[in-house]
Each structure stands twice: as structure tokens, then as C-alpha cells.
Symmetry: C2
Subunit: 342 residues, 2 copies
């Protein structure tokens, strides 16, 4: 491993393969108990973990630290992303999120009014899915020790075992659905930082995805789901394929992408498939009701641009048929091209 040296570097923290190497090496090698009651645990590297509590029910739980810069960006802020990020990691397990735990570390001198906006924004995001903020912690540290603020959120959902969807359940022949346009969040952050002036058109997609999961579950069978944040859909698609030991064949023409995202991607030379989304789901669904699932998702608030983008194959790669008639191998990014994106 090229980056496996004595010091942690930025590549270690990104959404790509190198980070997964570090997680495996340091954390998994040093944790002796990684799951409870046979639930989904640390080594699964899924969006959330599960704790079975009786024959029928499981607790679903997750945690994320949010370090996004700038704290306020087109389409959202660190409060909205801290709530949505964790609510979405629960949602893509197939279970409704009930609650958030909120731990904020704030640098001294932080504007009180900004903190109020951020908390309001967290709350509004929770309200969209009916989740509560039930416990928290606040620490203030010197402004030369921390830039701005970091918010860690954990979350809990409780659901039936039979509804749990891991990210490893794809089967050959499944259709692959993406619930909307790709790359919006990462490119909105980059555009804001670079001052391209696209802010009016280019907005982060940060939003809670539970409504789409609920709609999809009513009409079809979801075999696998993932929240394509860091590393973008390139990372999510490959992780899902690898875990299920399958491949995918995708149709570029059907992958929704906004013209302004494409424009900024071209300017920066960054692949929009490799940057974070914060309000999308990559979903594997059984072919026979894929159209029903698609239509159900398209009727929801955040799902109108959803598309069936391809299907699961028995080959071992994620291949995309390009618009000009060629083929492109979609690989997981080595590093996230956009640091502090979420």
C-alpha cells in the first residue's frame, strides 16, 4: 500500500480505497469485539450497524463527524448535513430514523447567531422525517486549535429484522436505481470555495432520503442500498458490487447529472462520479418491480429525477456504456478529490 507510512495523511481520510485500507489495518486489527448479538458490525463497513433485540426487531445505529468547510454553502449548512448524513445512514438500512445524538465542538469566538442558524437547520432537517434530537454535548476549544466547528451526530432507528437492507445484498439481474442527479454536493462545495459564481444555480442536494426508502419499500423489493457520500457513486457502486461479488453494467445516458455540475467538473478536472452526494441513494431492486419502485420514488419530494441506470451482472467490474458508444470502467477513487466535503 503506497500510502501506508508512519503518519496519517489526507488520503487516509478520504472516501476511497486508501482510507478503507487504513480502517482495516488500524481499527479492525485492534478491536476485539465488533458486533452485538450477531448484528451487522464494524467489519461490515456498512452505512450503519445493527443490534438484534429480540427475534423480530433490531436497533440500527450509526455515527459521523462532520467537518465541512465552508460551514454555510449553497443549498445547506453544517447543521443540515450533520442531521441528514446520519438520518440517511439509518434510512438506507431500510429503517425509519427515530432520533439523533448531537455532539458539537465549537471554536472560541464562534458567532452565536451562526450557532443558532446551524441548530435550527438541524432541527428542520429532523422534522422532515419526524426524528427527535434527544441528547447532546457541547465543548468549546481555543480558536487556534480548531477551525470553525465539528459536529458529530449519532442516530438510532428501530425496525423489523425482515426490513433490514445491507449494502451487500445485490443479486445478478437486479436493476440499479439512483434517486437523482449525481455530484451536486461535492461540486457545490468546490464551486463555493473557488468562487466560480455558480452559486445561484449549483446547490448541494443535502436532504433526508427516508421518504424515498419508505415509498420504494411499499411497492418493491430492495436488495441493497448505500448512501453515496464521500467517494461518490463511483465508490458506492464498487463497494456494493465487491461485497456481493458481482458486477454492474450501467448506461451513461441514464445517469442524471445537472449541466452546471458537468460545467464545474470540466473546469476543475474532477469526476462528478467521485464526489459526495448528500441526498441520494444507490439502490439494487428486483427486476420485476423495478419500474414500480422507480415511479414511487419519482413521486417523492427528492426523487423526481430518479433513474434506473443499469443492472447487476455476473462480471466482476462496474462497466458504463458511454454516450458516444464506448465502454468505461468505473473504479473506486483512490482519494476523495474534495477534502472537508461533509
Amino acid at each position: 500500500m503506497a500510502y501506508n507510512d508512519d503518519k496519517i495523511n489526507m488520503v487516509h481520510g478520504a472516501g476511497g480505497e486508501v482510507m478503507q485500507g487504513m480502517i482495516s489495518d488500524i481499527i479492525l486489527n485492534n478491536v476485539s469485539k465488533t458486533s452485538v448479538n450477531g448484528g451487522i458490525g464494524l467489519e461490515a463497513l456498512d452505512d450503519s450497524a445493527t443490534i438484534p433485540i429480540d427475534d423480530e426487531h433490531v436497533i440500527v445505529t450509526t455515527i459521523d463527524s462532520h467537518t465541512v468547510q465552508p460551514l454555510f454553502f449553497p443549498g445547506g449548512d453544517i447543521g443540515r448535513i450533520s442531521a441528514a448524513g446520519t438520518l440517511n445512514d439509518i434510512s438506507v438500512m431500510g429503517v425509519k430514523p427515530l432520533s439523533l445524538n448531537n455532539a458539537m465542538v465549537i471554536s472560541e469566538g464562534f458567532e452565536r447567531s451562526d450557532l443558532e442558524k446551524i441548530v435550527k437547520s438541524m432541527d428542520e432537517t429532523c422534522q422532515e422525517v419526524g426524528a427527535a434530537i434527544i441528547t447532546g454535548d457541547t465543548k468549546v476549544i481555543d480558536s487556534d486549535k480548531l477551525d470553525g466547528m465539528i459536529i458529530a451526530t449519532a442516530g438510532i432507528g428501530v425496525g423489523k429484522k425482515e426490513n433490514i437492507v445491507s449494502d451487500a445484498g445485490l443479486k445478478v439481474g437486479n436493476k440499479v436505481i439512483i434517486t437523482g442527479s449525481v455530484g451536486d454536493h461535492g461540486m457545490a462545495i468546490m464551486s463555493k470555495r473557488e468562487g466560480f459564481g455558480y452559486e445561484t444555480e449549483l446547490k448541494s442536494d443535502v436532504a433526508p432520503v427516508w421518504g424515498m426508502v419508505e415509498a420504494a419499500q411499499k411497492v418493491g423489493t430492495i436488495t441493497a442500498m448505500k448512501d453515496p457520500t464521500r467517494g461518490g457513486i463511483a465508490n458506492a457502486l464498487n463497494e456494493m458490487a465487491n461485497k456481493a461479488n458481482v458486477g454492474m453494467r450501467l448506461d451513461e445516458e441514464r445517469i442524471p447529472i445537472k449541466p452546471e455540475v458537468e460545467a464545474v467538473s470540466d473546469m476543475l478536472g474532477i469526476d462528478p462520479f467521485e464526489v459526495a452526494n448528500e441526498g441520494k441513494i444507490v439502490m439494487g431492486v428486483e427486476a420485476e418491480n423495478a419500474e414500480d419502485v422507480l415511479q414511487a420514488i419519482q413521486k417523492t419530494k427528492y426523487g423526481k429525477d430518479a433513474q434506473i441506470i443499469g443492472e447487476v451482472t455476473d462480471k466482476k467490474h462496474v462497466i458504463m456504456e458511454t454516450i458516444i458508444g464506448g465502454e468505461r470502467l468505473i473504479e473506486p477513487p483512490i482519494a476523495d478529490p474534495v477534502p472537508r466535503v461533509c
Copy 2:
């Protein structure tokens, strides 16, 4: 409120009254749903929240960010404190902790070997109570944006409703137990920072307290518990008394304190009652079996210095009879005298 200005300052993040003012003002005023299914929620400001899942059982959950400096200190490190802090917040609700969620934000250039030590230390602490680390998140940010590392841990326990102990249940006539010597953690951190050379004697007490709770529950009735971290026992005792609308009468002679803690306290002019403990419990117990509870705790690994330090009264203050025969009013600290202590 003297500190209620436009910018967040260090006093806001401390363990004292001003922080609680800020929490009430900004967070509680802006969160619309603060509990689930009638459980203990955000406004209770208890060590953990609860989610009732059926007539008999509840989920207990909490979160804390850990910003302690230095990362390695006499008696522990940020890994041990991140695990113990959250395991203890679950434990003092009367329920065995099952699992941790671990979110680490690491500054670029961090030593890989230090990260390994920290993860090992978290794991060893979890092993003491049989808890698993089931999910996590890692982010790396520029070293000029974050000093060292921050670890946020959330935790989950599942227990019977009848075993849940809040921090608000004290009744007049209850005995007050402290499970060991006070101020060890805060003073060990200060001593290390100041280079007093007390490191060989003066060690943090950071440890999981579950064993003491379990032992106590077997022989007696605990009416209220609290983890006296930031703000020390002065804060915990006052918070418990205020919430139950009672007072306390304590006996200074019975409050365990190590000579080396007293020495450093005197040198720095810091009250050891106002600094953090990381392996202690303040407990209210019914008088008739208080001696049994005390003895049970004294037989556990971390409880041998436990003492009954006084009793609950119908007066509205926490009063301590001093060794020299006077009386001292114990008030909650306005600010934590030791920043970045946990």
C-alpha cells in the same frame, strides 16, 4: 447572564452554570422534538437519553466529544477516556452498555503508532465491560485546522424500564455515596500540563464504572446517579439536588481525596470538587440498605475507596460540614477551571 454575548467563549463550553445557560438558550430553544415515545430527552440534561421500545424495555443512548489535551496523560489517554466517558454515561442510567460508535477526526501528520495505541486503549476499556465497537467514521483534516485529534463516541444499552435511574430521583433521607477519591482526573491533567513532576503518583481515575453499578443494584435501591465529569462533584451534587428540589448535608471528613490531589489543588488554587472525575459515580441510595450498597461497591475493582459522604435533606442547598467544624456551601462552578479536560 453576564456571558450571554454575541460570541461563544470558553466559559460556554465548561461544566458549569454558564454552559447550561447556553444549552438552554440556543439548543433547547431551537429543537422542536426532544424525545421519543415519552423517554428521557434532551431537556432532561441527564447523562443519557432513553427510548422506550415496548412496555418493559428501553434503549439508553448518549454521545460525547472528547478533546482532552494532552492526548496521553498519566493513567490514560484519549482512547480510554472516549470509551469510558460514554460507557459511563450509559452505566449511570442503571443499564449495562452494549456498544460504542466511534467517530475520529484526526489532524494530518498524526503518528500512526499513536493512533494504534489510542484504538487499543479504547478496545481494552470496552473489554472491561464486554462492550463492542460496532460502527465508526474517520476523517482527516489539515493540521492547521485541528490540533491533534477529536473523538466522538456514542453508546447504546438496552435495559428494563424498572432499572432506569435518572439523575433527578433523590429523596429526602437518602444517603449519598461517592465511589472513590475526587478530582483525580482533572488534577492529573493539570499536573501533566504544568510539569509539576507529580506524574508518578498522580494518575487519572479514567475507568468504566459499570461493575460498581451492577454490584450496587444487586443489594440496594439507587434513587439517582450521575457521572461527575466536567464541573466535578460540585456540579453533579448541585444538579442532582436542584432537579429533585432537595438539599444535601455532607461530611468533609468522609469525602475521599488523595494527598497528591490536595497538594496540586493547593498549588494551583483550584478546588478539587470542581474538576472532572472519569471513573466515579455520585449516587443516592435508600438509607436502609446504604451500608450494603457501600460494601458491595467497595469489593469491586474501582470502588475500594467508596464512602457514604452525607445525606439528602429538605433544605435547598448542598452544605458541607468542614473538618474544622464549620459549614461550607458547595456551589456549582461558574466555569470549568481546567479546559480540554475530557
